[in-house]
């Protein structure tokens, strides 16, 4: 780095900054093309949707714990159409269930994990001034916003929002009210947003990485976002096609998913027939299986960053982790029918999907094991991001291991569509991914704002959430193994065999309501720290990756001088070095 070049760059930068200041409020904060602004927009919108989706579930948990009981206060506010006398109607329960899933997956977790963290951190971590296509990035956010508005608006149409699960299985979804049409349209907006984002992420990662930043010097977070982008790019379009087909069925009277002779309310449907409901399932799960890896991969990336940083040593098995990640991404496209074992496929195809599913568990285990081994011999700092990252490990472990019986065709028979499945996937997403996302918020908050979040409040948030998550979801394995089906309006109360485990519904519900209370310190901490948090410099965590070279918060264009990578991403405690960390960007 020669002095004159740095001065020239800085002068040009300052001149550009001055020009940038001319942008009005709307162009600077609302319709911005700056990846950091867009990332924050995604993150805050995503967090709000997470809260809303969580609230829907808290309402459901009242009905599950005390079926038929009137909900005091809130019950009467929701109107006679949905909760007459404060008591929940089955249709409303189904609305809540379908929208809880849809909102958490498509409006909460992915926008926060990919749109929020990906957008904000990725260009900084590769030393880029912004994304390759800044205007496309902005378009991607607004398509997401439009999708979210559509989904929310669907609650207010006659018949209410979608009620056929987040999976919208046909032919039931074909026959549903207007809310289902809005669900389909909303999904098309969201898919468009993801596709635009995926194109941006992949191009940016390949083309805009700094000098010296080879692929095997990428932080694991970058690899995670890179593979995730490919999953979004290639897996989402079939669901878009499926949504078009279902819209054609609902609006143009086609029979893509309606078999001949379907009887509804005692009458044979007067449609052409000849359709195949299983076609929807294939197209849906072709996306939805890679989608679950979209849900977990960014989280793994975040956890990897935080563990390396807070053990003051390199990640163990970086290369294996990267190869596993790529292999996992590839395999995720050919396992999807393990969600369809009960649809009458022959034993040959069941064997095929069972085998690919077992194989895909291997890279997951490799990654988790490498992260755990990375702790060995580390000089561990137990700050809030690290606590959440550490909590992620066993929680994802439980989630992943409980998936194994589901992936085996025969073991799946008694477990399919029971609470066991709900327990499995919530462990992976809730104390799994969401913990990783919390970790990321605490970790990168200083970079985005120039201030740290409060540690005490963070620890309360962590310990409370850890306990409550387990209280909510652990009982579900027992309920599922007892045979209680999912999506039951009364939580299984009508069934004899469910009686011995029904009390677990009450346990889970109280776990959920108390979990909500433990989010209050986080929400307060988040907003309070923006103005009153302890001020920090560019690199408060003494981290090695390139985003920490930029000022906190980074200006438009990110770096005063274009950074260069001189070494790997996790050169901590290098023997003979002056500091216990040798940043990637230092000469």
């Amino acid at each position: 780095m020669s002095e004159p070049a740095a001065v020239v760059a800085h002068k040009a930068h300052v001149a550009h900054e001055a020009h940038h200041e001319e942008l009005g409020f709307w162009r600077k904060y609302v319709f911005s093309v700056d990846h950091k602004v867009i990332g924050i927009q995604y993150a805050i919108t995503g967090l709000l949707f997470l809260l809303f989706g969580f609230s829907l579930m808290m309402l459901m948990r009242w009905q599950l714990a005390y079926p038929g009981a009137a909900l005091p206060l809130l019950g009467t506010l929701l109107g006679e159409a949905r909760m007459p006398g404060g008591s929940m109607l089955p249709d409303f329960y189904n609305e809540l269930g379908a929208m809880h899933g849809t909102i958490m997956v498509f409006l909460g977790v992915v926008p926060l994990a990919v749109g929020g963290f990906g957008n904000f951190v990725l260009p900084l971590q590769i030393g880029a001034p912004d994304m390759a296509f800044p205007r496309l990035n902005m378009a991607s956010y607004w398509f997401f916003f439009l999708g979210g508005v559509t989904m929310l608006a669907s609650f207010f149409v006659p018949g209410g929002a979608a009620q056929g699960g987040w999976t919208s299985y046909t032919p039931l979804a074909n026959l549903a009210g207007t809310g289902q049409t809005m669900w389909l349209v909303g999904m098309i907006f969201l898919i468009t947003s993801s596709l635009l984002g995926a194109v941006n992420f992949i191009t940016t990662t390949i083309q805009l990485r700094a000098k010296g930043l080879t692929f095997m010097r990428f932080p694991f977070f970058v690899w995670a976002q890179f593979v995730t982008a490919f999953l979004l790019l290639l897996a989402f379009p079939p669901l878009e096609a499926a949504a078009v087909l279902q819209l054609m069925d609902r609006l143009a009277g086609t029979s893509f998913f309606l078999p001949s002779g379907l009887v509804v309310s005692g009458q044979v449907l007067t449609v052409a027939g000849g359709g195949n409901p299983l076609l929807w399932q294939h197209l849906f799960w072709f996306l939805a299986h890679p989608e679950v890896y979209v849900l977990i991969l960014p989280g793994m990336g975040i956890v990897a960053e935080i563990i390396a940083n807070n053990t003051r040593k390199p990640l163990w098995g970086y290369r294996s982790m990267v190869y596993s990640l790529v292999f996992l991404g590839f395999m995720s496209f050919i396992v999807w029918a393990h969600h369809m074992f009960m649809t009458g496929m022959g034993t040959a195809m069941a064997a095929f999907f069972q085998t690919t599913t077992m194989i895909i568990s291997i890279p997951s285990v490799v990654i988790l094991t490498a992260l755990i081994i990375s702790l060995w011999g580390g000089s561990i700092r137990f700050n809030t991001p690290m606590l959440f990252a550490l909590g992620f490990l066993p929680m994802f472990g439980i989630g992943g291991l409980t998936g194994l019986p589901l992936g085996l065709n025969v073991a799946d028979i008694p477990l399919h569509d029971t609470y066991y499945v709900i327990g499995h996937f919530h462990y992976v997403v809730a104390p799994g991914t969401i913990f990783a996302l919390f970790a990321g918020v605490y970790y990168w908050f200083p970079k985005a704002t120039g201030r740290k979040m409060n540690e005490t409040l963070g620890k309360i948030h962590f310990f409370g959430s850890l306990v409550c998550m387990n209280v909510i979801f652990m009982p579900m394995f027992l309920m599922g193994m007892a045979g209680v089906s999912r999506r039951l309006f009364d939580g299984g109360a009508a069934y004899d065999f469910a009686q011995p485990v029904l009390h677990l519904n009450v346990v889970s519900s109280w776990g959920a309501w108390i979990l909500a209370i433990f989010q209050i310190p986080f929400i307060f901490n988040f907003f309070w720290s923006i103005w009153k948090g302890e001020k920090t410099d560019a690199n408060p965590w003494h981290a090695t990756t390139i985003e920490w070279a930029a000022p906190s918060p980074p200006p438009h264009g990110n770096f005063l001088v274009a950074p260069e990578a001189h070494r790997g991403p996790y050169e901590y405690s290098v023997p003979g070095a002056a500091k216990d960390f040798s940043p990637q960007y230092e000469a």
Binding site: H16, P129, D130, M131, A132, F133, P134, L136, L195, A198, V199, N200, I202, T203, I206, Q207, L208, L233, L234, A235, F236, P237, P238, E240, A241, A242, V244, L245, M248, A252, G253, T254, S255, F256, V271, A272, G274, G275, N276, L278, L279, H282, L283, F286, H556, G557
Partner: protein, 196 residues
């Protein structure tokens, strides 16, 4: 700020951002139309009977449309080649021809569709027509979209030729890739729906 490799290629990949971007987008489109073809396969193989395309659809008209679209692909690539030869006037001619041919394609499809409706044949009539209207309808939307982008580069977007001819040439090339892809989809759609 200036995003690097918008106009010049990055040495190790040999590509501009836009070129990678458009190919990635086309990859996603392959999966989109692939899903519809997969749907066609599943529905057709599960059907007790399926009409031959030429018993319901107008093969001569569709053959004409196939020729129109292929011709438009030629004019599209010639439009780009004209820019490479720095002949802006010729570019305008070829690009205009491409847009016009796209318009012809749409007009023919309009006649095809309205003829079907006139005969009481709708998407809801049977699954053959359902998949026919859906596949060709989605394809038509892509033709229209491509035409809109081409029209932009023929018209208001052409200003860029004066200030940054290389960038303009690249953008025309990239929108050409989209247009060729639309032609490519039709090359598979035509025999599948009309001839089999």
């Amino acid at each position: 700020m200036d995003i690097p490799y918008t106009v010049e290629v990055r040495r190790d990949t040999g590509l501009t951002n836009g070129k990678i971007g458009i190919w990635l987008f086309l990859a996603s489109e392959v999966m989109l139309f692939g899903a519809l073809f997969a749907s066609y396969i599943l529905i057709r193989t599960g059907a007790p009977s399926w009409p031959r395309g030429d018993t319901i659809l107008n093969v001569p008209l569709a053959t004409f449309n196939t020729i129109v679209l292929i011709l438009s692909s030629v004019t599209m690539v010639m439009a780009w080649a004209s820019l490479m030869r720095r002949r802006f006037g010729t570019f305008r001619l070829y690009m205009g021809a491409t847009i016009l041919l796209g318009f012809v394609f749409l007009v023919v499809k309009y006649f095809e569709y309205s003829h079907k409706f006139h005969d009481g044949l709708y998407p809801s009539t049977n699954n053959f027509l359902a998949i026919y209207f859906t596949l060709t309808g989605l394809h038509m939307l892509h033709v229209a979209g491509g035409m809109a982008v081409n029209a932009y580069f023929w018209g208001p977007g052409a200003k860029l030729w004066k200030t940054n001819p290389v960038w303009f040439t690249n953008r025309v090339e990239n929108s050409g890739l989209f247009w060729h892809f639309v032609d490519l989809v039709w090359i598979f759609l035509f025999p599948t729906l009309y001839l089999l």
